[in-house]
Symmetry: C2
Subunit: 156 residues, 2 copies
DNA sequence: TGAAAGCGCACTGAATCAGTGCTGATTCCC
DNA sequence: GGGAATCAGCACTGATTCAGTGCGCTTTCA
């Protein structure tokens, strides 16, 4: 699926919240009081982001998380890469499609190279969007929910 | 996962092959003789693409498939949209995250709007790449396989 | 010392994905 | 007319991934 996982989604929401509170320590509990997200999952995700050194953890009774860097120094691409691996679009490399099985000339993957180009472009797109961009965006009001995003459910 | 499914991959491979044989009718068997792809799955995918009117089917003993339009009039975006729905990146719209559950002001999804921007950009990227672009690309030779695509397997 | 917070491991149910079985319908060629 | 080749349609299975939770431990502060 060409879609982010819930974990990534929660991660981005949490990080955006941390970006708005930049400089201070914010607990998972506080994040979950602001958005309807499952607490344990968000905690799980923040732990991973901590291991990847995108956030810092502060244990103890007044603990929580804070960004490890400035919001504009953390890209969406880093977050996605941490939580679900770098976007690779196809699985050519893992399935060996491009290697072929017999003659080695005719049996090459015809789409690997151009798809690789798309992959790099997507990656650049994610890399140049930072947490600051997410935090700076005006919040979406419920009434603005467009039908655009719902095209997916309309498939076959 | 930010990744195309095998079905889409097979679909793109098959369509690229059809693009190279534009004007003639090509059977699933012939496609599978050129690439190490599971025959039944490719047939399944082509059937879907036929319903979406991206290809035309020709039944009978000398039957097969042919592109319904010129290769440069079929975009990768159309193919992806047909086989796995339009890329939506997040599931905000389906889970109602942006609606919130209580006060209706604080409880809005902070990332929906910027992610929507990314989604549109991704969509445009896929829309402006056509089958002709895929078919025109020089075939990848096995020795050129880069380590780039394998970053994914190195995660966590 | 107790409450609040994060840490770590492991588990479960649901959904999706990849691939296949089987039968029927259509067309061409001998 | 019959057989072979091809697509059409339905449905099923096993594997994988995903979302979410259980449970107990450690750390810090008041």
């Amino acid at each position: 699926m060409l879609q982010l996982t819930k974990r990534t989604e929660y991660g981005l929401i949490a990080l955006t919240h941390l970006a708005l509170r930049a400089g201070s320590v914010t607990s998972v509990r506080e994040i979950c009081e602001h958005y309807p997200v499952p607490r344990r999952l968000v905690a799980e995700v923040l732990k991973e982001l901590c291991h990847a050194q995108l956030v810092e953890s502060h244990r103890g009774s007044a603990g929580g998380y804070s960004l490890a860097r400035a919001p504009d120094a953390i890209s969406v691409g880093e977050v996605v890469g941490t939580l679900e691996g770098h976007p690779s679009l196809t699985s050519c490399s893992s399935m060996g499609l491009y290697v072929g099985h017999a003659c080695g000339v005719e049996h090459v993957c015809p789409i690997r190279s151009p798809i690789e180009t798309l992959r790099l472009e997507l990656w650049r797109m994610l890399a140049r969007t930072s947490l600051r961009d997410l935090a700076a965006h005006p919040k979406t009001v419920p009434s603005a929910a467009p039908a655009l995003l719902q095209q997916r459910s309309a498939r076959s």
